[in-house]
Amino acid sequence: MVFRRGHSSPIKIIMADQTYRLELKNITKSFPGVLAVQDVTLHAYVGEILALVGENGAGKSTLMNILSGAFSADCGTILLDGQEVKITSPRRAQELGIAMIHQELALIPQMTVAQNIFLGREPLFAAGTLVNIKKMMDDAQDILNQLGLDFAVNALISDLSIAQRQMVEIAKAISTKSRVIILDEPTSALSERESGKLFNLMRSLREQGVTLIYISHRMEEIFALSDRVAVMRDGQLVGVAPTKELTVGTIVQMMVGRELKDFFPKTETQRGCVTLEVQNLRSGARLKDASFTLYKGEIVGLAGLVGSGRTEIARVLFGADKNEGGEIRVDGQSVKIHSPQEAIRHGIGLVTEDRKVQGLFLGQSVRSNASVSLFQRLSRLGFLLYGKIDQWTRGAIQQLNIRASNLEQRAGNLSGGNQQKVVIARWLAVNPKILILDEPTRGIDVSSKAEIHSLISELAAKGVAILMISSELPEILGISDRILVMREGQLTAEFSRAEATQGRIMQAATGQLQNEGLNGS
């Protein structure tokens, strides 16, 4: 492992015959109040998968956005295949053969899959400016086939699930036939099976000499996939090394600058009385039949493939979607939940999976986002008590270790992981009896993840019943007391903490015996 020392190149040449595809030299970028990227020098080889890791807000996305032309650097130079290039706009990056899958999905919801894949590069008729729609559809179909995707090329993006949208982003990036493809947390919305498809694809692109830069918080993926790992902390590059020479421990230590022992700290919880009983919950085509019980102080993990109806359960319980005939009982009382307000009144909270659309007011300050549900309580005669609100918000920021330059920062400018923490902070304010978390640690770095897990455990210890949806099996196995598994809209299995294994859960989730993991199908 090589640590960054002054301006000297932190790279140890692993194979002499490898050539540089990309050389970033002394890149710096600041935003008002933050030095997001500070003097970063980083190289990438032809035909390699370079993992870029770091805590939330470390500057990974910012660095890659500079490379893809979305931001311009304050200073520094970029060499592509030995030539110095000026990447002044996303268009320029495209022309140079650099494609990026952005962390927050960048698709146009009202347009079709095919239109989105070819946005900005539509196939034209020979003569000029008219789009060759047939060719566009056919080419898009080819790409979808290649990826094994089964939705229609003329489907609207707004009708697709988040996982499907993510796959469209991936299709878009590979269709550019780029030299450099940057993937900013592409798997955060995917389940293991879909991630497996993506990884196979990435490996074959690597064979073809494409350079892939891959940002992820999932350690297993990094080890399964990458050739080298580059670690960032507080805007600086702290080290680069071949993956083979690293362990999870060393990477995390570089990321946080100290040693971190347990990623999924499991505290023993006391199971109390029944607080939520659900019988034959049904809604639309996605959720066919689910019956289960939650106890006070218990953490229940809900596993399953993306699209298996997990989110649907959450939405129905929270009154966001219609309950078609199922029975819901809270503390023994049969209740009808028609709206989120009613759900909140019955003490049910939901952290949604799509923070950008459903969870955050992107244009508003961190303070308003975190404390909005306290406004009622922390006001007098309709006037907000700003002192108290600030005090509470500061507490939450500290408790969740949210990186914000101040309380006024726009939530939209936070790094992805910090946005998620703000959403969780909001629910801490409400003190629900039952808290449903849909992919609560999506896009969250290891150390914050541990913080969120211990937070969840703390809530459970206070008697909150927790239902946690997650596509990450280690997470489910790590903190759940009990695990429910869904497949195609139905609950198919229930395991106690002792019984559950990755294999059993995957079997229940797919209906097949499982031996396919990260290493592809």
Binding site: S68, A70, S89, P90, R91, A93, Q94, H102, A106, L107, I108, P109, Q110, M111, Q115, L119, G120, R121, E122, L124, T129, L130, V131, I133, D159, G284, D321, K322
Partner: protein
């Protein structure tokens, strides 16, 4: 099974909601009034609506980007007045006069586009300002009085060819061109793209500035054509013509499925939308409904149509 039939039925209605509303309006009218379904009457409706329809098509372009163009009425008046003034008082030939007038419309559109794209002034504000300023220019140029004395080359554009009003041909021509531009060309694709997500479009390498500039020029050009046809039809340019045209154009586009939030709209929709309003007005006239009451009915139909569209959309999401 039942469900999927229902869904297909609903989505059929939804994608053709304009036509459905057209039928819903037209059927009772034809039952109530014998004069309604006559060739003559329908041609009258076509003549009246074709002018608004052209402006509505232009408005649809602006709406799709998530903007709006409030200046269309004023631009229509200015174009008509300039064409009439240049060809009579200034002694230009008719066609050069018309071309110059249309060029003025393009200039106004470019100015709108520049304010919105470069100046980052919200479209509502930018075009509200030019609506006032351009109307003022028209009043200054005409001295507040109609300009008449147009020659036959000019008035030809409001006559009939074998019984069919010429403005209808103009509309057809405009509709075909704009259809190709909006639904077949790269430029059109980008109009939808920036309406659906400007940042996304920018990241895909599209320049929102150029697209917006083009959109407001198209809108102004359409408004200018409307102004010319209105002038031809009245045999004179009226300084106050086109007042309220922006509202008719917006209502028509929205009835035809354009979204004020951007990202949705179509040339076909703008056409159907205008014809719905036109047929309704005509039918109410035939039924001798007093004009004050007509306003109320029009407003109600508009609300119902929009709600219907919204409800269907939600219903479909669910199923």
């Amino acid at each position: 099974m039942n469900n999927s039939f229902l869904q297909r039925f609903l989505s059929l209605i939804r994608t053709n909601s304009g036509l459905v509303i057209l039928l819903l309006v037209a059927l009772p009218l034809s039952a109530l009034s014998a004069d309604f379904i006559t060739v003559n009457n329908l041609l009258t409706v076509a003549l009246q609506t074709s002018m608004i329809a052209i402006a509505a098509i232009g408005m649809t372009f602006a709406l799709i980007t998530g903007g709006v163009d409030l200046s269309v009425g004023s631009v229509a008046a200015l174009t008509g007045a300039l064409a009439a003034g240049l060809s009579t008082r200034a002694g230009l030939e008719t066609y050069p006069a018309i071309l110059l007038a249309l060029f003025a419309a393009v200039l106004v559109g470019a100015l709108n586009g520049a304010m919105i794209a470069w100046g980052r002034i919200p479209p509502f504000v930018a075009t509200l300002a030019s609506m006032a300023a351009v109307r003022g220019l028209t009043l200054v140029y005409t001295q507040g009085r109609p300009i008449s004395g147009l020659d036959e080359q000019f008035t030809f554009w409001a006559t009939n060819i074998s019984g069919i009003p010429v403005p209808l041909f103009v509309l057809l021509f405009v509709a075909i061109i704009t259809y190709v531009v909006l639904h077949r060309s790269v430029f059109g694709n980008y109009i939808f793209a920036i309406g659906g997500g400007e940042e996304t479009a920018r990241l895909a390498g599209i320049s929102p500035v150029r697209i917006k500039l083009g959109v407001y020029i198209i809108s102004a050009l359409c408004a200018g054509l409307t102004g010319l046809l209105l002038t031809a039809r009245l045999w004179s340019a009226q300084p106050n013509s086109g007042i309220g045209l922006e509202l008719d154009a917006i209502a028509s586009s929205v009835l035809g499925g354009a979204s004020l939030m951007g990202g949705a709209g179509s040339v076909g929709g703008a056409l159907t939308g205008t014809f719905i309003i036109g047929i309704l007005a005509n039918g109410l006239n035939l039924l001798e409904v007093p004009s004050y009451n007509q306003q109320v009915i029009k407003g109600l139909v508009f609300i119902i149509a929009v709600i219907l569209d919204y409800v269907l959309k939600r219903r479909l999401k669910k199923v």
